[in-house]
């Protein structure tokens, strides 16, 4: 199937859309998808998977072991994920962390979360995040010359750091 945007390359990304009141699919090649702002994770994954297989072909001992690894929660193999572009469950991210990391790095440029935390987040991460927020508030308080507030914040920070 040819790309509907350039009409030249093979379409690899299929996007659901509404055209004149009807549900339709737009088929795009990797380049056009990227140009139009659609993250073609399928393409990215494919590349990693090829590389992954390539490294196995190199006669690695763990070859069969590694490629047969399955998520014990949803049953996905890394091949399933790479082919569909879909991660099966939360547990897959633990099982296939090393395999997924290069793609994650390429998409986001970073590999460590900053921002809101779920209640299930670890206590260390929660503490770090609270500290970062307090320090931000402290900088702001000093800038605004709210010294009483700043002193209180400084005490809170000291207390938390002592606990950690």
């Amino acid at each position: 199937m040819l790309c509907q945007s350039c009409g030249q390359n093979q379409a690899t990304t299929h996007i659901k859309t509404i055209i004149n009141g009807e549900l339709a699919e737009v088929n795009l090649c990797r380049e056009c998808a990227q140009k139009l702002g659609y993250n073609s994770f399928f393409g990215n994954f494919g590349m990693d998977f090829d590389k992954f297989l390539g490294s196995l072909m190199g006669g690695n001992e763990s070859r069969t072991l590694k490629s047969r690894k399955r998520c014990n929660c949803c049953g996905s193999t890394f091949e399933d994920i790479a082919k569909s572009g879909k991660v099966g469950c939360a547990n897959c991210y633990d099982i296939f962390y090393d395999e997924l990391l290069p793609s994650i790095q390429r998409i986001h440029g970073k590999t460590v979360h900053i921002g809101k935390l779920a209640k299930s987040a670890g206590s260390e991460v929660k503490m770090k995040s609270t500290l970062a927020k307090l320090k931000e508030e402290l900088t702001a308080a000093i800038k605004e010359q709210e010294f009483e507030k700043a002193a209180k914040l400084r005490d809170q920070i000291k207390e938390l750091e002592a606990k950690g």
Partner: protein, 351 residues
């Protein structure tokens, strides 16, 4: 209840709306792509209960919609009103939607992720929209167990959403930049800043109605606040560039003529295709913003842009219509609305 799209907000001449969307999943269940319909229904029941029986002032204002029960027109109309994604209605089994009465909040259950919280506000209004999404998210977090990893943040079916799981988008009306052929240059610059600019209707180089969506692309390693602040900074620059492009274009009599003709057609045409309608409404919006057309509230045009979409037209009439019947009714809707906006002339007489 007045729908969100019946209002216009900050920078309303360029920014039509703000959308904040969070992707969340339940720890105990595989992602929806790995669930059968029965388990999907279980997940839907959990999320529905968490919202409707949650300790929120909004709870009583939500309606729960079982997606398989809708007609095709009703389902497509949800997409036209920007309440759900096209993907969400492509297979409706096991999917549910929680919708706030003013349609400013929708919670998609079992789309790509178990939960997609979406908040829409008029104009440029990132902080307020975020605030509501954040509250609903916190409420759900209290009652459910979210899939979360200390390193990767909120876990999502597609790794493009890892981290905050937040996508902030602005719907922009950019006829000035589009007609100045500046869009390709701008889109490629934006991608380097971790943002995406995409046509809302149609994938070609000239999306219908000159409507574009600007969103953050990166969600991991950047906080919600920082992502929104980047988006806002870039959006304000685009707003300034768009206004300048409009001012330059309106020195051209051909552009002024096209705008004035569009206004005339909107008031007198009897048949109007979807494509023509979007073009006319875009021109009229452009004309209002530059003072070529007498002042009409942007919200009237925003509303028409949604109400004249094919499925929403049929949903409002309450029956299936052939394309030619739709063209007639569309023209009726536009004509009657635009003729009612005759007030500016009267005002001028009074002055």
């Amino acid at each position: 209840m007045d729908k969100w799209y019946n209002k216009s907000g900050n920078e309303g001449d360029v920014v039509i709306s703000t959308r904040i969307r969070f992707a969340r999943n339940l720890k105990e269940y595989p992602f929806p792509c790995r669930l059968n319909d029965e388990t999907k229904c279980k997940v839907a029941a959990l999320v529905k209960d968490a919202i409707l029986n949650g300790n929120s002032a909004l709870a009583s204002r939500f309606e729960y919609i079982q997606m398989p029960e809708l007609t095709q027109e009703e389902a497509v109309s949800l997409v036209e009103r920007h309440l759900v994604s096209p993907e969400f209605i492509s297979d409706r089994q096991g999917r549910g939607l929680l919708l706030l009465d003013d349609e400013s909040v929708s919670v998609m259950i079992n789309e790509e992720d178990h939960i997609r919280i979406q908040v829409m506000h008029q104009g440029l209004d990132l902080a307020a929209a975020y605030d509501i999404a954040d509250k609903i998210d916190t409420l759900l977090d209290e009652r459910l167990n979210f899939a979360f990893n200390d390193k990767l943040g909120y876990l999502t079916q597609c790794p493009t959403n890892l981290g905050t799981g937040m996508r902030a988008s602005l719907m922009l009306h950019l006829p000035g930049l589009q007609q100045s052929k500046a869009m390709n240059r701008i889109a490629s610059t934006l991608s380097k800043l971790g943002l995406v600019l995409r046509g809302m209707y149609g994938e070609g180089s000239e999306p219908k109605g000159a409507l574009y969506q600007l969103s953050n692309q990166v969600t991991l390693g950047i906080s919600e606040e920082q992502a929104m602040s980047n988006l806002r900074d870039v959006a304000l620059q685009l707003v300034a560039q768009e206004r300048e492009a409009r001012n330059n274009l309106t020195k051209n009599i051909e552009v002024v003529d096209a705008i004035s003709r569009s206004y005339g057609l909107s008031r007198y045409a009897r048949l109007m295709s979807n494509e023509e309608c979007m073009k006319l409404l875009s021109n009229i919006r452009f004309g209002i913003a530059t003072g070529i057309i007498d002042k009409i509230d942007f919200d009237i045009i925003n509303r028409l842009m949604i109400e004249t979409q094919p499925a929403t037209l049929m949903k409002n009439v309450g029956k299936k219509l052939s394309p030619s019947e739709r063209d007639r009714i569309r023209a009726d809707v536009v004509r009657s609305t635009m003729l009612k906006t005759n007030i500016p002339n009267n005002r001028r007489l009074e002055n």
